[in-house]
């Protein structure tokens, strides 16, 4: 077991390093000179070159790479090339909690919607309830999240004035500001995800309900509902955990668009703006952080999965 774990961790680290390297070089392949764009209005070519030298961007690519990598190993992610050249770690440390709050909130909303819906659908299979819920779930899956976001803004922010239309409030400013700024975006992201989750719970439960030990329990005359709740739920937790891996991907993709619509400066938006602005250090740093999260999250999910059901193993 330990050997497996170590192998997976090394594997994960290699993936992260490969991604970071790939991104580093591919970023510089992107056309467009950020420095010239930044100083366009000033129109002073010498100032541009002075800045380029100062930031070390005139060195050959592999030299820049080695320098950057060295710094990363020491924990220094570099600085943004714009403005006051704020450190990348700082940008990420400020952006990260926003995305995490958003994703976490969305996940909770999704759970609150999906778990009861999924369970009830499975138990009352083929009933009206099941059909209606299934339909709603599909609806949720099929709506583009930016569309949901816009409709929510139009209804709740512009027309009803119940909730703010944009931005993010740090929790240090109080629970309600933090909460109220996050509700609409979290719903926008959470709906699609809850639909997927509900479906997964439902089918997992259905499978389990057909399995042997449930039949045995029924045969023994035990209270069906009790049996379901105790045994089925535990087993249904497996797909939920599996889905956590996808959840992170889904929630972050959703976050990118929704952060855009609500003007929340989270990790996704930082990354996208960085790419569009050619802010190399920011993109490199953000991708590094994102890939660490993903790879290790998936690693944890895999390990957990393996622990729970030793029959199911990832081939190496």
């Amino acid at each position: 077991m330990l050997g497996y774990l170590i192998r997976r961790v090394i594997h994960a680290l290699l993936v992260i390093a490969a991604v970071a390297t790939l991104v580093f070089f591919m970023l510089r392949a992107v056309p467009g000179d950020p420095l010239r764009a930044m100083l366009f209005e000033i129109g002073d070519a010498e100032a541009v070159e002075a800045l380029r030298t100062k930031l070390g961007l005139d060195q050959p690519m592999y030299v820049q790479y080695v320098i950057w990598f060295g710094h990363v190993l020491q924990g220094d992610l570099g600085n943004s090339i714009y403005g006051s050249r704020v450190s990348v770690s700082r940008i990420i440390t400020e952006a990260f909690p926003r995305t995490i709050s958003l994703a976490g909130f969305a996940f909770i909303i999704a759970l609150l919607l999906a778990v009861p819906a999924g369970i009830v659908s499975a138990i009352r299979k083929h009933s009206i309830f099941d059909h209606v819920f299934t339909f709603i779930a599909f609806l949720g899956l099929s709506m583009p999240d930016f569309w949901v976001a816009i409709i929510l803004i139009i209804i709740f922010a512009v027309n009803l004035h119940w909730l703010p239309a944009i931005g993010y409030a740090d929790i240090s400013k109080g629970f309600w500001p933090w909460f109220s700024h996050l509700i609409l975006p979290a719903i926008a992201i959470g709906t699609a995800f809850s639909a997927i989750l509900a479906r997964m719970i439902r089918s997992a439960l259905l499978e389990v309900m057909k399995s042997d030990f449930i039949r045995t329990a029924r045969a023994k005359g035990l209270d069906e509902n009790l049996v379901i709740f105790k045994h089925a739920l535990r087993n249904a937790a497996i797909p939920v955990i599996t889905v956590l891996g996808i959840a992170i991907a889904l929630l972050m993709s959703g976050a990118v668009i929704v952060e855009n619509v609500f003007s929340i400066k989270g990790l996704g938006r930082t990354l996208i703006q960085g790419i569009l602005n050619r802010d190399y250090p920011v993109v490199q740093g953000a991708i590094l952080v994102v890939s660490v999260i993903f790879v290790f999250a998936n690693l944890l999910v895999d390990v957990f999965y393996t622990l729970v059901d030793p029959r199911i193993r990832y081939e190496e």
Partner: protein, 293 residues
């Protein structure tokens, strides 16, 4: 993605079974509705130039007209008829959905079978690549590719295809790995069948079921992805009307012109919904088939 655990059956698909499929399909009401709605959109896509009342890019009309007899879905901010744009939009959106998944499927399954069958270093390389791609939300990959290569239909298709092929590769590989252990492959080999024939006759058909299901889901997601990319301004070129682009163009006008927000969004939703219904029905069919044997 979740593991697909299916029972194995004898590899030939008798004609009778196929008819049974249709029977099951018919019984699932959602699937029927889904099929019907989907065909409407597909037909619109194919016959767009004939069905659409006006040229989708003609800015001939007064800006921001509400829905009326002349313009059942209204007019956008540049004076273009929304109905015509949505009909033509079906073309691109569906084309994108099909081609991205088509490419992803072909390449992904091919890679997956290669990896599973030959194992060894081929397997390792392919799986590393899959892991790399899988480490990211498809979106970020697509954004990045668009930044490098520029916007445009071809680049969007490539970007989304690259992001989705990992699912197919994994399934194919998983199938191959579990089947490889089975006796009949060993016996086929001992009878002298070539690797290629084994793959074609035995392995491929069994992977078909989950692949079809994944494909339908992926088409739905690809359409949503293209809408998202176009919405962010990273998708197709401005003159090609896709539903995501229509929504994006109209962003500043939603509060004045609700039709610009509602109709394109509904088009996306209905199309994706019908594909999902179909996919779900297919999934049920394959599951049902299993349990019957």
């Amino acid at each position: 993605m979740a593991q697909i655990t299916t029972e194995l059956k004898t590899p030939t698909l008798a004609k009778a079974s196929r008819l049974r499929w249709l029977g099951y399909l018919w019984r699932d009401k959602k699937a029927v509705i889904g099929l019907f709605v989907l065909s409407l959109f597909v037909l619109s896509a194919i016959f767009a130039p004939w069905i659409a009342p006006y040229d989708p890019n003609a800015m001939d009309f007064q800006m921001l007209l509400a829905p009326s007899m002349d313009h059942p879905l209204g007019v956008d901010d540049l004076g273009r008829d929304l109905l015509s744009r949505i009909i033509h939009g079906a073309r691109v959106s569906i084309f994108v959905g099909l081609s991205t998944v088509g490419i992803a499927l072909v390449i992904g399954v091919f890679l997956g079978i290669l990896a599973g069958y030959f194992g060894g270093w081929i397997d390792t390389i392919i799986m590393r690549y899959i892991d790399l791609v899988w480490a990211f939300p498809n979106f970020i990959i697509a954004v990045y590719l668009v930044a490098v290569f520029g916007t445009g239909l071809e680049n969007v298709i490539i970007a989304i295809a690259l992001a989705y092929l990992d699912d197919f590769a994994r399934i194919a590989r998983g199938m191959v790995l579990s089947i490889r252990e089975q006796d009949f492959v060993a016996s086929a080999k001992s009878m002298g069948a070539s690797s290629l024939r084994i793959m074609r006759v035995h392995l491929f058909p069994n992977a078909l079921a989950p692949i079809i299901v994944t494909a339908t889901v992926s088409i739905a997601n690809a359409i949503l992805a293209e809408a998202g990319l176009s919405f962010l301004g990273l998708g197709v070129k401005p003159t090609t009307p896709t539903w995501g682009l229509i929504l994006s163009d109209a962003r500043s006008f939603f509060t004045r012109a609700w039709w610009l927000a509602v109709f394109p969004g509904m088009a996306i939703m209905l199309t994706v919904l019908s594909i999902n219904f179909l996919g779900d029905a297919l999934r049920d069919i394959f599951d049902v088939r299993e349990y019957q044997d």
